[in-house]
Amino acid sequence: MAVEQTPAQAGAQSRIHNIGYRSYDGQRLGRAYARRSLYSQSLRGAYGLGRSVKSKVLPMVLVAVMCAPAAIMVAVTVATTAKELPVEYTNYAIVMQAVIGLYVASQAPQAVSRDLRFKTVPLYFSRPIETADYVRAKFAALASALFLITAVPLVVLYVGALLAKLDFTDQTKGFLQGLVSVALLSLLFAGIGLVISAVTPRRGFGIAAVIAVLTISYGAVSTLQAIADAQGSGSAVPWIGLFSPITLIDGVQTAFLGATSAYPGGVGPSTGEGVIFLLAVLGLIAGCYGLLMRRYRKVGL
């Protein structure tokens, strides 16, 4: 109930308006709502929304960098009335992997390291949510953010392709295949990024570690693949692809989503071999989730 206090009672600072304490009798929406709130806050945070202007710069620049080539390709296709887009939907993310890597490296630590560093985690766990809710909300938020940044350029390509009056069935099929591929990629990259970032409360360290894991593994794998290809042992090329996140995704989409392999020699895994690639991707995603759960069970209060 609102009780008006006299200025003398209320003290010097609060003389403008000081109504008495009002208790809250309204709805309490519980655990699922809290998890959704954490998800939406983290998703917004991944684009710097609700944070300082400074933290908006990098995510927005990366979104622009992701979309610009798509827009240019569309413009070229429309202008030259080409018969097809210069790049396959499934290949776009592979081409732009450095940008995606940079985005994961910058936003995964933002999502989890800050809570660890500023010890906000105990405040979350003193509320109705459980460890699993926190991990799921953060995982889903970063994966959604990654999906948005990788899917929006595909949408630009698709809309452009339709404007250029390219074959609707072909384009729709390719577009949907591309979406499935980036969905898998988003889950995998989000998992890897979060696991690495959750280990350290230091944001800079997290950024460096994520970049290192993504680029070094890709560098090593593609070098080995190139050597294997040059040495004539082409059959080893797909198997080497199992050892870096982006080549894993490449393998899966070559086997199942009709993509042209970006491996040296252009030979990706067959459908049979692809099953192993798919299992590896799903296993990695599940493994990352498990590691995060383990990590946060220890953090607690």
């Binding site: 304490y21 208790s23 309490r28 655990r31 809290a34 979350y124 003193s126 109705p128 949510i129 607690g300």
Partner: protein, 373 residues
Amino acid sequence: MWITRRRLFDLRGTPTGPYDWRWMPRQLFGLTTGVVCATTVEDVTVIATESLSKRFPRVTALDRLSMDIGPGVTGLVGANGAGKSTLIKILLGLSPATEGRAKVLGLDVATEGGAIRERVGYMPEHDCLPPDVSATEFVVHMARMSGLPPAAARERTADTLRHVGLYEERYRPIGGYSTGMKQRVKLAQALVHDPQLVFLDEPTNGLDPVGRDEMLGLIRRIHTDFGISVLVTSHLLGELERTCDHVVVVDGGKLLRSSSTTDFTQNTAVLAIEVTDTDDHPDGTRAVREALHARGVDTHDGSGLPGAGHVLLLTAQGEDTYDLVRDTVADLGLGLVRMEQRRHHISEVFTDSDEQQSTAHHSAGKEAVGHGG
């Protein structure tokens, strides 16, 4: 609730040797309040633990802790490592107890942790605020994490921040706040969802004397004005004496004592006397002591206590003692500056509990005066 009766009588009904004489009035008082409490506490026990134990591979953090805490402001006292934080973790349902049971607001901590955390607020001891968001944004987010719908979260945040004393600065990033302001934000996030009970872990840590006073006033208001029960930990007994209705002393994971603050600080039968000096008696205190001694009254100079040397302590045997002192001082021609019943301070009782066994062999008379002061 379970155990209530047993505890109350247990705690107040077992005086030991040298304390007996002094325990009498207090024991009676204790029993009286005990009966009153037992009827009210049974309905509204806020926290109840029964043989609560928590053992880690190398340490026993809590050792068969049984207590009942009613509504109001309760102080939880203990040295570092006494098991305070472990207790709070268990009460929030975040860490399972090794054995024993605990209930918070009538909910079992082992099975209904989520429901407890919806009704309880927690203010940690350490820093927990991200520096790059404003207090408003942060507290709104925390309100939503407690299940408040967006509109209600914003409204409650504005209210709560004002109640803890944050005004225009609440729109600025927390990174630029003083320690006092940060403590207020921490308190606000614990209160924003209007809990029935808050756990405040060392809320006055790092505050200057003024900030400390304000924080203590605020804690008092949480109960009196907001109607929220408080469990506040501290190692500064003076603070608890001023703010708490009830004090629980924990040491080495064991319950050392649980009493109402008035029990701790009630009047004792010990009188403190202060007199002036005159030309005839350059040391008035000494003169009075000798005169009283001649009339068969034992005194103590209060050594080891504040104001020692200028204060004379003696045990009042009844109304006569007051007259005797007055007459003795008047006969000597001295001025009687002060004659009052000494009150206990929690710290003295705390020390008493520690030393209870070790000092048991001391002579009753000396014990009486020494501890009474």
